[in-house]
């Protein structure tokens, strides 16, 4: 995931995931288990990849994910878009892309990166981006 805290520290980077591999000092002031980014990503990929995911679970999961202070990783969005395909819900797929763009906020480099990573999936499934449909502007 592309955390806003990481972005605040590395504004100039076009790809911020590399920064997260830098060694960090481990602090032992809490014994609660802290979920790593990879675990977070795989948990959500697994959630959206469930074969019998229903429409409510798709909406609940995506609304919860959008509520976090982060921009979802492209592989999470990939599984979410494939879930929309399984549920025959094109409107939700387009809405997810819109929400990701909105979550990027002032960081203009995130959305093009996400679209670039998702382009094979978008072409395979036939999903148009909001820009292609003309709903990204009033």
């Amino acid at each position: 995931m592309i955390s806003a805290a990481v972005l605040r520290g590395f504004l100039g980077l076009s790809r911020t995931r590399a920064a997260q591999t830098a060694p960090l000092a481990v602090r032992c002031y809490s014994h609660a288990k802290v979920e790593t980014d990879e675990e977070f990503d795989s948990r959500w990929v697994t959630y959206f990849s469930k074969p019998d995911l229903d429409a409510w679970e798709l909406r609940k999961g995506m609304n919860t994910l959008i509520g976090y202070d982060l921009v979802p990783e492209p592989k999470i969005l990939d599984s979410a878009l494939r879930a929309c395909r399984r549920l025959n819900d094109l409107a939700s797929a387009i809405r997810i892309l819109e929400a990701v763009k909105d979550k990027s906020g002032p960081h203009k480099e995130i959305y093009p990166y996400v679209i670039q990573e998702l382009k094979p999936t978008l072409q395979e499934l036939g999903i148009s981006t909001p820009e292609e449909l003309g709903i990204d502007k009033i």
């Binding site: 909406r59 959008i66 819900d89 990204d136």
Partner: protein
Amino acid sequence: MLSSRALVRGLQSGFWRRLSTSSGIWAAHTHDVDVTDCSVPQYNNRLDTPLPDVPFVRNLSAEQKKLKEKEKGPWTQLSKEEKLAIYRLTHELSFPEMRKGSKEWMTVLAGVFFFLGFTGLLVWWQRVFVYGDVPHTLSQEWIEKQTQRMLDMKVNPITGFAHKWDYEKKQWK
């Protein structure tokens, strides 16, 4: 008047919601209103909840049903207009439309100033018709005698009124 139209619009948005229409493929853009059944989930345009609980258009016309059937097939075979229509069936407003500002602040500010003006008129009317003359204890002679008596009684001689009067020179310090 602006306020009347704003009031009507507020009532409409508060008590009536655009649940559904059957006037064609661009039903989402008409403004028919219907009474809301509050026991069923509502459609909401919210930035923090991008996928609403229920689709915007729930009573589909024949063309809309056909479009929904086509949605179940490959999406690569849908045209741009069809995709847009499918989107509008489920979502009334896109994100930029939700984020667009409103000029409603003008109505609110106008209402505030109107009531402030009315209050001013009320105060003016009270000044003319309710309040009489100031009491006689504010007249100059009364104030002079009152001050003299306070000095004679040495009111608050340590730190207060009488403290500022020089009794030897009979003048203010």
